[in-house]
């Protein structure tokens, strides 16, 4: 494969995005739905309950699902308009084969031909270069059954170690930090505990736009008397009226947490009994934070000393609390350190594992939680098992009917997969529901690597921008076209229900994977007849693991409006709150509530290092990136939904009036933004809602509107998350058209 098979404009003309708007049946208030399907929104990790209205195999609207306890009918604009992704003009109805002679680059082919061509290419590459020459990259918006199958497919069928997923770009720093400190990677508390907290600390989470439903929990806590602390370089909607706003310089979160812990120790606001009984490692952390006095902390973080002291006092002296964080502290080359810093102030306060005392990361992707538990992460096997642990390997090998020796060892993260393409080690790629050309940092490199591949097969329901480079595109399934389970940000496993059947030649993703396995002649272990059958095997595979689903059934999940894992047997009610004193887990086996053999949590030194790229005279601004409320991830879905595209049709540069004035930039002016890796032109949104040393660009767009042309591919050494939240740029007024 080489460059794109046709001009980008020509491909867009044929495959979109074309924004869909309500029309015909969807505008006719006289049309009665044939059925009302209770399922969930596909557009973030909160997985709000929603009822889809179906008429003649078409989604015609929605009705709030008031009974679902997490959101009680509430939805953000994405949820409201999600039904418009159904029956979409851009929907892939046939398999496609790259065809540069066609005006739009692809020709529709028989599904069977596309599958056998894919299998043929996989065989050729693997026999020519070895099994490791093929990589699989997968999505964290898929149902857990599919993510389980993807891991099994890579390891059992393709026998490649190289599988990773786009959750790598999302919550992995939190996951790594949680595993280091708690031994388990899951929100420690259900959101209901937020309501009982007296202090809610939100670090690096634009709750209003990225997890809108959580807003009501925060405001409700405030009604109940809580003080709200928000740490963010931008005045986000939730920061606007919070009680204490800490306008941190991007990339300095761990410094703030260390500074807070310093004051807590100094003032004696440490829960000594808890630290003594339930944790280890406090002393070395206390030693480390000694240098983080308020003055030094203030210098590093850009927050005034007074505000830091105020925050420490609020946090140190309260009786109940909830700390939430998200990508703002995680998307860093030291993201895991930031997370550990946050966990340290939680552990030092002793406020965890009790009602109203909690901690969680706000998972961003649809199945960000479930999607990282069951084997599509490069170093994990189902049940959140460790691929390097012989015992864990043996358990999974037995479930899969193979020998542990047959399973490959750990692979590499998704960015490293692209580096391996660059080194010529990986020649073939299979992707599903992943759009790395938009989502990976420094994506000019990613594009070059896609062009270097010998074979690339993409499975998706729309032709995403990465798939423009594909040799074969297989038409997969939309969220509402399949059933399965998903685990939410809270750790609540919920059930997705099928509302409509896939149109044309499109089919459920798990069927496509099984068809490829069949065409390869390796169908053993890939003959499931339904998602339920996959789930039954997943239950067995997860039994005894940390993420234990063995006590879950579809019926139990639906009856209880979701069940929190771990749920080790069918009579078990699930575990909404982790780490309760006296609770049992398979690692500690009664020694304590945390998931280590001694049952104790770990204080870990959270060491500060500046972001990989510093600002300087040449590139004087910090660029930080993030979401807007009307779009989801790379926008492959939401840019196709007219009313959402209308809301934010384009990315913009948010910049403070002070620097804007110096640059001669007024609101709405076109500006050129350049980093060491790329450049782009956008409209400026001049607003007093961001630090003067920082600028912000949302990331949901491709090509010349993709901010990931500018971002840096620096990664956290532990979690391998890219540093989306800080890189250095320069800005000038752009006179061209």
């Amino acid at each position: 494969m080489a460059a794109l098979p046709a001009k980008v404009e020509a491909i867009i003309e044929k495959f979109g995005p074309h924004p869909a708007r309500p029309s015909a049946l969807r505008l006719d208030p006289g049309v009665e739905p044939d059925k009302v399907v209770r399922t969930h929104c596909c557009f973030c990790g909160q997985q709000c309950g929603i009822q889809l209205l179906v008429h003649g195999n078409q989604l015609i609207g929605f009705e709030p699902w008031m009974e679902f306890p997490f959101n009680q009918g509430k939805l953000c604009p994405k949820g409201v308009k999600r039904y418009l992704q159904g029956s979409h003009p851009d929907r892939l109805l046939h398999a496609l084969e790259r065809d540069p002679s066609s005006s739009h680059g692809f020709r529709a082919v028989q599904y069977d031909h596309a599958v056998s061509r894919t299998a043929g290419e996989i065989k050729r590459i693997q026999s020519q270069y070895g099994p490791d020459a093929l990589a699989v990259i997968s999505g964290a918006s898929l149902t857990t059954e599919k993510t389980y199958l993807m891991g099994k497919f890579a390891r059992l069928c393709l026998k490649t170690p190289y599988i990773d997923y786009n959750g790598r770009l999302c919550m992995v720093s939190a996951a790594a930090g949680n595993k280091k400190a708690f031994g388990i990677d899951r929100a420690a508390n259900p959101w209901a505990d937020i309501l009982k907290a007296q202090v809610v600390w939100i670090s690096g989470a634009n709750v209003a736009e990225c997890a809108p439903i959580t807003t009501d929990y925060v405001w409700q806590a405030r009604e109940n008397g809580a003080r709200i602390i928000v740490v963010d370089p931008r005045v986000t909607p939730i920061a606007r009226t919070c009680d204490l706003f800490l306008p941190i310089k991007p990339g300095r979160d761990v410094a703030l947490f260390n500074g807070i812990l310093h004051i807590m120790i100094e003032k004696g606001w440490i829960a000594r009994d808890f630290v003594e009984t339930y944790t280890v490692g406090f002393d070395s952390v206390a030693q480390y934070v000694r240098s983080w006095n308020p003055k030094y902390t203030s210098e590093v973080t850009g927050i005034s000393e007074g505000a830091i002291r105020q925050a420490a006092e609020l946090w140190g002296t309260t009786t109940t609390s909830f700390l939430l964080h998200a990508r703002g502290i995680e998307h860093h080359s030291h993201g895991v350190q930031n997370v550990l810093g946050a966990i340290n102030i939680v552990l030092a306060s002793g406020r965890i594992g009790r009602e109203g005392c909690g901690y969680a990361t706000i998972t961003g992707q649809g199945n960000g939680q479930g999607g990282r538990e069951h084997g599509q992460k490069c170093d994990q096997l189902p049940g959140a098992r460790d691929i390097s642990d012989p015992e864990h390997r043996a358990h999974i090998a037995a479930v899969w009917g193979t020998g542990p020796g047959e399973l490959q060892g750990p692979g590499v993260d998704v960015y490293e997969i692209f580096r391996k393409i660059s080194l010529g080690e990986i020649k073939g790629l299979l992707s599903i529901s992943f759009n790395p050309l938009v989502s990976l940092p420094d994506n000019n490199f990613v594009r070059a690597m896609l062009e270097k591949l010998e074979f690339y097969c993409a499975i998706d329901f729309f032709l995403n921008e990465t798939a423009y480079h594909a040799d074969i595109v297989l038409p997969g399934s939309l969220h509402e076209e399949d059933e399965g389970v998903v685990t939410t940000a809270e750790g609540r496993t919920i059930k997705i229900n099928q509302a409509v059947t896939p149109p044309g030649d499109a089919r459920q993703d798990w069927l496509i994977i099984q068809d490829i396995a069949g065409a390869l002649g390796r169908e053993r272990g890939f003959t499931f007849a339904s998602p339920r059958e996959i789930f039954e095997e997943l239950r067995k595979a997860s039994r005894g693991g940390v993420a234990d689903y063995s006590g879950l059934t579809y019926e139990k999940i639906e009856e209880n409006f979701g069940v929190f894992w771990p749920c080790p047997d069918e009579d078990h009610p699930g575990t909404p709150r982790l780490f309760e004193p006296g609770s049992w887990n398979p690692i500690a086996r009664g020694a304590g509530p945390f998931y280590f053999p001694d049952g104790k949590a770990r204080f870990c030194v959270a060491s500060y290092s500046p972001p990989a790229e510093s600002t300087d005279g040449e590139f004087p601004f910090i660029l930080t990136t993030g979401r807007v409320v009307s779009h989801y991830l790379t926008g492959a879905q939401t840019r196709r939904i007219g009313p959402l595209a209308d809301h934010t049709p384009e990315p913009f540069l948010e910049i403070h009036p002070h620097p804007a004035r110096e640059l001669g930039v007024s609101d709405g002016d076109r500006v050129m933004i350049e980093s060491r890796r790329g450049q782009m032109v956008l409209s400026a949104r001049v607003a007093e809602t961001i630090r003067p040393d920082t600028v912000f660009i949302p990331y949901h767009w491709p090509w010349e509107k993709s901010v990931n042309q500018l971002t840096i591919s620096a990664q956290d050494p532990i979690s391998r998350i890219p540093e989306y939240k800080v890189c250095a740029v320069r800005i000038r007024r752009y006179a061209g058209s």
């Binding site: 708007r21 006719d28 208030p29 006289g30 009226t241 007219g642 009313p643 595209a645 209308d646 809301h647 049709p649």
Partner: protein, 382 residues
């Protein structure tokens, strides 16, 4: 003894006057009732009563402060000598697009338009044929010496002759059949919408929304049955049908001043509104006293302030506002939230006196889910 209130007295006066004029015209037009068909006297009295009711209600309506304002200003705008020629041209154009073609309903929905347009023209055709016949203004006489021809007599003056067997004759004598078919088609479409549209179902009222359709349907159906009776069934049940038809028609006529039908007389006021708006656009804009941006016309704001005073409102405020009407609608929304936010968080960022506020903007710039149309944008989001 006249009832007390002056506006009622005025309305009664106009009602009686119009009714008397029509009665006089009937007498004169039917040549002292010589062409008047005594069998149709019930219809005549129903029309006279309906006219009284309509004029009475119209007169009451015109005396409400906002209506009076528009009535006066609309005519002044229309008759302004400088623009009279172009106004007349616009008037003709708007009569065609709005009244004859119902363009504004076309935009609301194609089926809705079809329903309204067929009902409207069906009724207009029927009224055009029957009223002159009933009043004795129009009648047909046989042409002496030619059994196959009729002569049309208008207000007693003989006009053209035509052959019974001509196409014109066929169309003319079956005019009521066509009108009935038109009305029935429209009523069916409208009924279908009312039966299945849940939005419509929630706000509809029987007397307001269903009864008119039922009446029109009854009039049309009984009319068609009459035609069928004498055309194909040798007059079977004709007398009964004639009475039934008369009852439906008379009830409909009597209902004209009360229910939805009154919009037939009220609605043409929209033409006057357009001239008022034209005048406003040609004149000065109102300027918001908070954001200093233009909104609507100064004339309209001043007229509204007057109307509100007459209605007993006191939106007068301290300077520099003067009257709340001088704050544009988006700034009213902003003030509402700022006043509440201030109660929660104390005073916010303040602007210096004389520096206009930034002015708010719709969160969704897309028209589809934001402001509705261009005028809305001008009014709200300058």
């Amino acid at each position: 003894m006249m009832p007390g209130k002056p506006e009622v007295r005025r309305a009664l006066f106009w009602g009686v006057l119009f009714t008397a004029i029509l009665a006089g015209l009937i007498v004169v037009g039917s040549r002292n009732l010589s062409h008047f068909d005594a069998a149709l006297v019930g219809y005549t009295f129903a029309v006279l009563f309906a006219l009284f009711g309509i004029v009475y209600r119209y007169a009451i309506w015109l005396q409400r402060p906002p209506t009076a304002m528009y009535w006066k200003q609309g005519w002044q705008a229309f008759l302004a000598p400088r623009h009279l020629i172009s106004n007349l041209a616009h008037w003709v154009g708007r009569c065609v697009t709005d009244i004859a073609l119902n363009r504004f309903i076309w935009i609301r929905g194609r089926l809705r338009w079809l329903a309204h347009w067929t009902i409207m023209w069906g009724c207009a055709l029927a009224v055009g044929i029957t009223f002159p016949l009933v009043f004795g203004w129009l009648h047909f006489e046989s042409v002496p010496g030619d059994f196959d021809s009729y002569r049309i007599s208008l207000f007693g003056f003989p006009t053209a002759d035509f052959s019974v067997h001509s196409l014109f004759g066929f169309l003319l004598f079956h005019g009521l059949v066509w009108s009935a078919v038109f009305v029935i088609v429209g009523v069916m479409i409208a009924m279908r919408r009312r039966m299945r549209d849940e939005g419509a179902a929630a706000v509809q009222i029987f007397a307001e929304d269903f009864l008119p359709l039922v009446l029109l349907f009854a009039v049309s159906l009984t009319g068609l049955l009459l035609t069928s009776s004498y055309t194909w069934m040798k007059g079977y049940g004709y007398d009964f049908l004639a009475i039934l038809h008369a009852v439906t028609v008379i009830f409909t006529l009597l209902w004209l001043p009360f229910g939805k039908f009154f919009h037939i007389f009220q609605r043409p006021a929209q033409l006057g509104v357009t001239f008022y708006k034209d005048l406003g656009r040609r004149g000065e804009s109102a300027t918001c006293r908070r954001c200093a941006k233009p909104f609507s016309s100064r004339m309209h704001v001043e007229d509204l302030i007057r109307v509100e005073k007459e209605l007993g409102y006191s939106f007068e405020a301290e300077d520099p506002i003067g009257h709340y009407q001088w704050v544009c609608p988006p700034c009213r929304r902003a003030l509402f939230a700022l006043a509440q936010g201030r109660m929660w968080h104390g005073p916010g960022s303040q602007r210096a006196p004389g520096i206009p506020a930034q002015g708010s903007s719709h969160v969704n710039p897309g028209l589809g889910e934001g402001p509705l149309g261009e005028e809305d944008r001008e009014n709200f989001h300058p």
